[in-house]
């Protein structure tokens, strides 16, 4: 492939100790490649390990196994001190705009924090030259700089979070469900802002969401996660036209359709039951307990992610 990889994750595994010797298999053997200037969407139900995956990639969590290559550099086992200069390259936008901004800081201080942390500016008052244009870039004004985060609306807060993530001009931004806490009317505003930045600066996004309809709009590639594992990865148009994995089909079936006539014709393929516990994941294919097409071998042997043509990767015995 001609494009170089911004982020390459190989066999990433993250287990959490849950006490009494139990282990939560939050992320298991996940591999993907995010190309420069592109967006990779990660989707899945709540608790499927999307956020853990993102937080491990950005090294808030220590990976249990696997490698993370940021721009060709292995960061999976770097010490925090070695990692610090690389943090300029990757930033994160958080899910909850209410919890991700410190309520005791003004917006100016919040946006200036990365600049101070990396010594771009030495003092707070020097940061204004960079902070004000950034504020205007995300649709806020100078007057907002002295306000505290709690005075803003959700959409405004999320834009402040975006300004904070982008002020260092990172090459990779991990968006951990950046729009799921926002009103639908605000979601488009934030998404468009992210897209504009991508066009201008060539930022790569790892975009995490549980909502497939929004992911279609932003992503170049989409990965579907189930219970800590990637079950299907392909180009984003393809996954909507031709979903292969039964879980992906189920997820797509759960998107509400505005037109009632079309909705009636839609194939009924919702997924029954609840997601199993990640402490004791099912044997074999993790989805076999809920899969409508499950066969005996699904419970015995775990399928591997393999290319079924045209870069469309799926982990399912149906396509073996």
């Amino acid at each position: 492939m001609s494009e170089t990889a911004m982020l390459e994750v190989k066999n990433l595994t993250k287990h959490f100790k849950a006490g009494r010797g139990q282990v939560v298999h939050a992320v298991d053997n996940v591999s993907f490649v995010l190309k420069k200037g592109k967006t990779l969407g990660l989707v899945g139900e709540s608790g499927c390990g999307k956020s853990s995956c993102a937080r491990t990639v950005i090294r808030i969590y220590e990976p249990t196994e696997g490698t993370i290559l940021l721009d060709g550099q292995d960061i999976s086992h770097m010490k925090q001190r070695e990692l610090k200069p690389l943090r300029r390259k990757m930033q994160m936008i958080f899910q909850d705009p209410y919890a991700s901004l410190n309520a005791r800081m003004t917006v100016r201080d919040i946006i200036a924090e990365p600049l101070l942390a990396h010594g771009v500016v030495k003092k707070k008052d020097q940061a204004n030259e960079l902070v004000y244009p950034m504020l205007e870039r995300v649709g806020l004004t100078k007057e907002h700089a002295n306000r505290y985060a709690h005075e803003f609306s959700g959409g405004q807060r999320q834009r402040v979070g975006i300004a904070r993530a982008l002020i260092l001009q990172p090459e990779l931004v991990i968006c951990d469900e950046p729009i799921s806490a926002l009103d639908v009317s605000i979601q488009a505003q934030v998404i468009n802002l992210l897209r504009d930045f991508q066009e201008e600066k060539g930022v790569s996004y790892l975009f995490i969401a549980h909502d497939l309809s929004m992911v279609r709009y932003v992503s170049d590639d989409v990965g579907v996660m189930y219970l800590g594992q990637l079950v299907e990865v392909c180009e984003s148009g393809e996954i909507y036209k031709n979903p292969l994995h039964p879980y992906t089909k189920g997820l797509l079936g759960s998107i509400p359709i505005a037109n009632p006539r079309l909705a009636r014709e839609k194939e009924k393929s919702s997924i029954e039951g609840d997601i199993p516990s990640p402490i004791a994941p099912p044997s074999g294919c993790r989805f076999h307990t809920r899969c409508p097409f499950a066969r005996p071998e699904c419970g015995e042997r775990a399928p591997v992610l393999k290319d079924v043509g045209g870069g469309h990767m799926v982990a399912c015995h149906l396509y073996g």
């Binding site: 808030i60 990692l83 930033q91 919890a99 800081m105 924090e113 942390a117 649709g139 004004t141 979070g161």
Partner: protein, 383 residues
Amino acid sequence: MDNKWEMLPSSSEDREKIWTKNRTFAGDVWFRFRRKPTAIAGFVLIVLLLLFALAGPLFTDYSYSVQNLEVVNIPPVMKVFDAPDGNGSLYITQGLKVLYVNPDGTLGDQLKKVREDSEMSMTIYDYNGAEVGLYYGQKPYVIADPATKVIYPSSTVRNASYLLGTDSLGRDILTRLMYGIRVSLLVAFIAAAVNMVIGVLYGGISGYLGGNVDTVLMRVVDIINTIPLTLYVILIVVLLGSGLQSIIVALGSVYWVDMARVVRGQVLSLKQQEFVLAAKTIGSSTKTILFQHLIPNAMGSILVTVTMLIPSAIFMEAFLSFLGIGLQPPLASLGTMCNDATANLRTCPYQMFIPALGICLIMFAFNFVGDGLRDALDPKLKK
């Protein structure tokens, strides 16, 4: 504008504008704090007590330590007898002496004793050449004319020389009260400051590092906490000798455990919040995370804990001084004043009542302020 429902022209600036007033966090807290009358009352009381204790000694003619045995145990309101010439009055001291009281209530000289008349149970004193008799035959003692045996008319007069009276060594209680409250507030603020520094750092580090460090640090706190506090403070006072500095050392070295616990709990919960994770992904240093993110957000509970801890430190100082292992005479503290007053509790209850009232007022004031602060800092009560 006839049509009220007509759309106003909207610019994008209006859409993003924040219409509320720009209020800092402190301003917000003050706004909620001042709506609570008890909190404001406590706050005003603390300010008044501070003024009284710090500026008061500038306006008094007496020292807290100089004794004047001529004016022992004089109450704030005296029962006096009219002088024979009708100018001023006479007061019988507890030592069966007669004091001249000026018409404005200030104390004058002691009258000279002329002779003892044991037949009449009278001591005869000389008042400007005239003889007055102090009759001690039966209680209450009175002053009478020895010749006619007529009791002079009596009345009550406010003590203008010693507004709150004198103690058993003839020292002005008002002056001693000023110094006593000074000591109490000093102990309070030093205890608070020491607790803030040690407790916040200890709890902050324990909560932030977590894991084994946290376990060890918290077991140390548990051990300190299991020792009865009073006993521990007494032991330290015994070891270092009594005095203000050992009380401060004693209070400072143990009272921070509550603070450490509160801060640790806060930090433990705060460090999981997204804004702290965000600071980590930004690459901020531990120092920045601790002092700009964690501690300012825990400040609410820290302030409440401090204001709640101040009254207990004050009480502990008063208690130790009352037991006689705190401040040493002639230094005045509310506790030593109470202790001095126990000997004369029946005859001079005011000597006990005044410093006790002082302790009560200080404790009430700090408790009210603490209460008000807790409500003002609680974001759930935000309006």
